[in-house]
Symmetry: C2
Subunit: 510 residues, 2 copies
Amino acid sequence: MDGTHPTFTPHGKHLIAGEWVAAELQFHSSPAQGAVHGFSVGTPAFVDRAVRAAEEAFLTYGYTSRAHRADFLDAIAEEMEIRVEAITEIAMSETGLPEPRIRNVELPRTANQLRLFASHIRAGNYLDRRHDAALPDRMPMPRPDLKMVQRPIGPVAVFGASNFPLAFSTAGGDTAAALAAGCPVVVKGHSAHPGTSEIVAVAIAAAIDRCGMPRGVFSLIQGGTREVGQALVQHPLIKAVGFTGSLSGGRALFDLAMSRPEPIPFFGELGSVNPMFLLPEALNARGAALGKGWAASLAMGAGQFCTNPGIAVIESGAAGDAFVAAARDALAATAPQTMLTDGIAAAYRDGTARLDASDAASTVLETPSEGRMAGPNLFETDAAHYLQNEALGEEVFGPLGLVVRVSDAEEMMSLALGLRGQLTVTLHMNDADTEIARKLVPILERKAGRLLVNGFPTGVEVADAMVHGGPFPASTNFGHTSVGTLSIRRFLRPVCYQNMPDALLPSDLA
Amino acid sequence: MDGTHPTFTPHGKHLIAGEWVAAELQFHSSPAQGAVHGFSVGTPAFVDRAVRAAEEAFLTYGYTSRAHRADFLDAIAEEMEIRVEAITEIAMSETGLPEPRIRNVELPRTANQLRLFASHIRAGNYLDRRHDAALPDRMPMPRPDLKMVQRPIGPVAVFGASNFPLAFSTAGGDTAAALAAGCPVVVKGHSAHPGTSEIVAVAIAAAIDRCGMPRGVFSLIQGGTREVGQALVQHPLIKAVGFTGSLSGGRALFDLAMSRPEPIPFFGELGSVNPMFLLPEALNARGAALGKGWAASLAMGAGQFCTNPGIAVIESGAAGDAFVAAARDALAATAPQTMLTDGIAAAYRDGTARLDASDAASTVLETPSEGRMAGPNLFETDAAHYLQNEALGEEVFGPLGLVVRVSDAEEMMSLALGLRGQLTVTLHMNDADTEIARKLVPILERKAGRLLVNGFPTGVEVADAMVHGGPFPASTNFGHTSVGTLSIRRFLRPVCYQNMPDALLPSDLA
């Protein structure tokens, strides 16, 4: 790709059950670089058409064999890979993310995720099949024959994230898990990358036709107005929502889902500051190296990861000073990076200004951030101020770090107790820190879905044992994960069949 | 027990972490027979004490071994069995349920349920342990070591049901599942059987002491005011709610749980009319027998089962007439029975009067119901009226049946499609009905947590494959069950440990 011959020009339409449709009203993309394109604004009427088609598709798709659905997931992965040039070009243009991130990381990750779900459903353990055989002679009452299996729930609404235009978007984790479970999907296109959503929808449509799946199994309704998301969450035929985004937007949609006449599960991932606790021996032994490592993790991808480690907790003292100095120096040497959208860049500046103006934190490093560019910023506070100022614990999306100094292990525990829900919490420790770690882990494991030792939380492995979730506001359902094979459970419900003849059982039980 | 020497007189206090406490304000029990007793009214302050004690207990109880918790569950069962005389006496008095139901059904069921959870956690499969081993040489990035296990969520609030004073109450399914998972429980005592709750709490307290469990692991706060339930659902340290009760009460508490600053899962079972579909060949072959069987199921326990089959769907014609006549005659020969509370009896009369006054249904049999007694009632309507009048599909708790006549299989399908969420749906069918059943099952399995063939839904087996749940309003979480071993999942959350030294892993992973 030399940048002069665009391989893909979006037509700006919605995909509804295999048809590309548009209304006159348009919104325009706001790319980091390259051409602006027009996209049809979504409407409740388009949402209704898409959801009705999804419901109709469910009547067959919900009864496809696991092998057939697995082939379909594999086909989506292939159809995306076939379009690697177009996908890379438009995603780079819209998001400002660098080419290797799209081409070598995001696209392979998205394809691998689809293939992982394919092999997961081929194996079939997720069905949790159970059988209590009849006991006709049991006293005082016979036991009937009971068979249980996990069944797909019906049409699912998916709201993608701005920061992973592939892996957490149109054909991302939520879509892959729902399709794997047997649920049709209606995606609300993210307005930060509508062209990327379109080309991915093209790939999904091609896979649908290749595999002979019902076309209503997937629709993409572009946004451009809040009405689209609201209509989707409130549609009576939608049975669950997968959402990745901001706390305010997510909470508003969560509230809508819960206040429906028939409430539905809302699986939202809403934000996290991912605290790191640097235990004394580790801090003493390798404070400067940890500071440098933290700076790299903080600034990676302009800090636009849900698992960005925004908080570092250290004991006051010389080792802590060395950690902070190393982090500051490394961040100061970091070039400004392009953020995903103008809105995110503006919110980053606002968040930085809020900390700057706060009496509760002091500035360690401030770099200018203009337009869509963001430079790293570093602030410092202490445990007492952190615990008294809830705003210090709110996520500032971007390359911003906050050091929280504690006086001793006791205060570190108090700080841990005062944390809100997180996606991840990290311990940096040496063997000699084991005693204090043993006291911290029981507190911290209640605060996050994933606990790490001696690593950085950015990089969310798509695997069987991954948990990407946690107590509110990290997620709206601490009982679930939105990454990894366990995430399929969100789109399943148990059904028990009592004395049911084999001819009437679902194929997974027959 | 000769009824003249009461073996148990409730003292009317709350149990908070091992201490029996009371305030001056009292409410009085309203027994079906026997002595009225005074009980201390619950308050938000008592709730707060109990929940704080539960949180403190969790710090140790959440880390007990599965073997220790299993012994504890077994001990609760034994301590209840030791008190069989007192439990039977007070539960009969308070609920009006007959002695064999309490002594021979409910108490053994409750004890067996506790023992089933004990063996379930001893086996440990519910932990769903997963391990993705490190791949240090993987390109482009190494994979860390990831281990996952299901961990208990923290203190759980339980609201028992009036109709199962043991099995769905103080030491019932919700409590057993939560304690098995490793979660402390605060029960809001049901005001329909406060003395029964008290004696069961005595048994649990004895088991706590026998097993050396922290006393905060269980508390009972008696009701007497709505404030208790509201305070419990809104307490920041409560992490989930198990509820069995009415749609209106459950929805109000659900809404409170969802509007918390930190929303928590609310596992509510709210009501169901449990439709039965009588397919043509079965109706022809054994309509009269089915009518008689239905009447027996409808009237059993004064119809006070969540799975009471309130609706029978039949094709119009002679076979249907014979079914209705048989049901009517059998119900007419059924003696009135005592209902659980005056309020339930009054609601039953109101529900009957509503149908009586409705233009959408006609009366087949009406029997007088006075005071706390209820006689059976039978009404009839057709598919068009049923689908146009939502009120016909609302549960009338008690021995009330509604026959819905359809003109043909087509209309039976429409009716099925129009159903709200149910705990159960039943098919009565012969082999020759298989074709129509094949069309109905995909519709019906989306409407209910359990599908039965040729049986009656009353009788909910406590087993691995049981699902007692379903789409709203049958339950508030169609992804879960409140009966059977799978119900433990409600009180667990997955946690991932990345590169965690063995010394810091929870014992279930180490």
